[in-house]
């Protein structure tokens, strides 16, 4: 039994049955305790609503079920024959973009739910666009509510043909589309008796087959972010760093940018032990000969492959809540552990996430949770990377009074207008 774990996000229009699908996945995989199921069954026996058990299973969150909307993220693991999946539920409501993004941002793969009867909607497209922007490369589609269209293949085919151009234009190719009924349980875990025309795998089998566990970005150039500096033995200090990409090994020459401080890495420490190497995701202590202290936010690399010092960059920015961005604005961005000031040089365009077209060229302001491309000038040089090269250092949030108020993905660096 492998301890493979996959983080899934389930997206799609709010009325297309995401919650029911999630409930079905949890229920059929027996992810919920016997006792809780008995409790719910007893409640529902009276109302004759046995099939809605799944929706009620998601009652961990009190704030839900008015009109079937979920409002926040829930992480509930369920098992397949092959591995353990953790679902991050994404609400389907336009107003909760911020929370949806927060959920989608940690996922390894996405399941898109589309209703067989209603087909691809604006919100469907919007969600695919946002998943793509967040770099989720693996996608499986569930065409749901087949029970409402009498399991008719024509509806499934129609939805498939609606989906193809949308997915392709966003770079999703060869996506498996499974016809299901979350309500009745067809093709989610159990192969459906009512859709003999479908010869493919069930949803869970598709997830097992098609979704590949994320591999650590160990093959990329070394990049680490400095978190802190702690006192160590003999009056020395240990530099605590989180490795984002590449593999860190001692005895090599390392550099901290943008300050340029450099030295030979003597030791790599983890929890009081000296270790031979550190991989992405690990937070370790460094003893560097010649470098006693470094500022939080600096980026670590080997001397032979240093990050570019970025003075200007173009990013795709998504606004949350009611923040507004105008040309000339000074913003504080956070990437890795760094906190730096930048100026909005120009808002290049506003993008319509529904149609995936440019909504406006050079708008004066971005607001109302808009999405747009912005050119920034940094007050001091930054060590940002292109998102497509090294996503860990190619993404940032913009700080506001409420916390993170916008998110950005770096498209180009050091471009001059």
């Amino acid at each position: 039994m492998s301890t493979d774990r996959i983080n899934l996000v389930v997206v799609g229009h709010k009325d297309h049955g995401k919650s029911t699908l999630i409930g079905r996945l949890l229920y059929d995989s027996k992810a919920i305790s016997e006792e809780k199921i008995e409790e719910i069954k007893a409640e529902l026996k009276q109302t004759g609503k046995e099939e809605l058990e799944f929706a009620f299973l998601l009652d961990s969150l009190e704030e839900e079920r008015r009109g079937g909307l979920t409002i926040d993220i829930m992480q509930t693991p369920f098992k397949s024959k092959k591995r353990l999946y953790t679902i991050i539920d994404c609400p389907g409501h336009r107003e909760f973009i911020k929370k949806m993004l927060t959920g989608a941002s940690q996922a390894d793969a996405a399941v898109l739910v589309v209703s067989a009867r209603d087909g691809v909607q604006d919100q469907t497209r919007q969600h695919v666009f946002l998943i793509k922007t967040l770099g989720i490369k693996q996608l499986v589609v569930a065409v749901n509510k087949m029970d409402e269209v009498d399991y008719d293949e024509a509806f499934y085919q129609r939805t498939c043909s609606q989906l193809k151009p949308v997915l392709r234009s966003l770079g999703y190719h060869n996506v498996t589309v499974v016809p299901v009924s979350a309500l009745k349980g067809d093709n989610v875990y159990r192969k459906s008796e009512r859709m003999k025309w479908y010869e493919g795998l069930t949803l869970i089998e598709t997830l097992d087959e098609k979704i590949v566990p994320p591999s650590l970005p160990s093959n990329k150039p070394l990049r680490g972010v400095v978190q802190d500096v702690y006192p160590y033995e003999d009056g020395r200090q240990v530099i605590v760093c989180k490795i984002e990409t590449g593999v860190l090994k001692p005895k090599k020459q390392v550099v901290f940018n943008p300050s340029g401080k450099t030295g030979r890495l003597e030791k790599v420490l983890a929890f009081g032990k000296v270790i031979g190497k550190a991989e992405p995701g690990e937070s370790v202590g460094l003893i560097v000969d010649g470098v006693d202290t470094v500022e939080r936010g600096e980026v670590l690399s080997y001397a032979e492959d240093q990050p570019v010092k970025v003075r200007s960059f173009v990013a795709e920015v998504i606004l949350f809540s009611d923040i507004q961005i105008r040309e000339g604005d000074e913003v504080t961005i956070r990437y890795g552990t760094a906190e730096k000031k930048c100026r909005v040089q120009r808002i290049l365009n506003e993008i319509d996430p529904v149609n995936l077209t440019v909504k406006a060229e050079n708008p004066e302001v971005l607001k109302n949770q808009a999405v747009g491309e912005i050119e920034f000038i940094a007050d001091e040089p930054l060590c940002l990377e292109r998102y497509s090269d090294i996503p860990e250092l190619g993404r940032f949030v913009i700080e506001g009074a409420k916390g993170a108020e916008a998110a950005g993905i770096v498209l180009e660096i050091n471009r001059h207008s």
Partner: protein
Amino acid sequence: MIILALDALDIHCVQKFDCKNLMQKEYGQTSLKGFSQERTVVLWASFLTGRNMEKEIPIKTQWEFKLQPEQTFLKFFPDYRVIDLPAFSYKQRNHEEERRLLKGYFEDEVTVEEYESLVWRNHEENKRDFFRELGKTSLLIGYFNLADAIGHLSFGLTEKMAVVYEELDKIAGEVRASEEFILIISDHGMKAVGRYGDHSSNGFYSLNRELGLNLPEITSFYNTIRSIAKSEY
């Protein structure tokens, strides 16, 4: 005729707190046979129309459900006043706010005290409306949800329920003074879940005349009321 519709009034509490005015000449439990859930709106609608309305009232829209007078026993009276009765003249805003605070309590944002203070406020409003109309029409129905609203969060706290039942008994006492036919009826009872109160499957009824009813169903009062109305009006 005067009908006191007291939501969730429970026979065990009426007896425990010795509510003499509520008990009247004849009293007992009602049967909710045929109903799979004890939903307030469904039960009062069924009381008014004399038939089981459960299938016609979906949960999602139940609070806004409204009957026409011709569908109810009200049509047997030359004139009538109905205060705050679910499925007929429900005070939407008041009760919506109550439900909002109830939800807030379960989300740990609202205290029991805040919720109860709103419930009592709404209760006082209904009392004012009710006593203002007393004696003016051939039928007066007054609805009071005090036992239900307070009970949901505090049924297990005897001191609190004692206060509630004392209050309802007092209202019954003031009505008793008039000479009309008085029916006191609840939609369902209540049972304790720790400190909380869940709906139970027997309501309460009492009459100031002996009719010899035996575990009547809530839908059977329609005919009883009709015969009385016919004979008197």
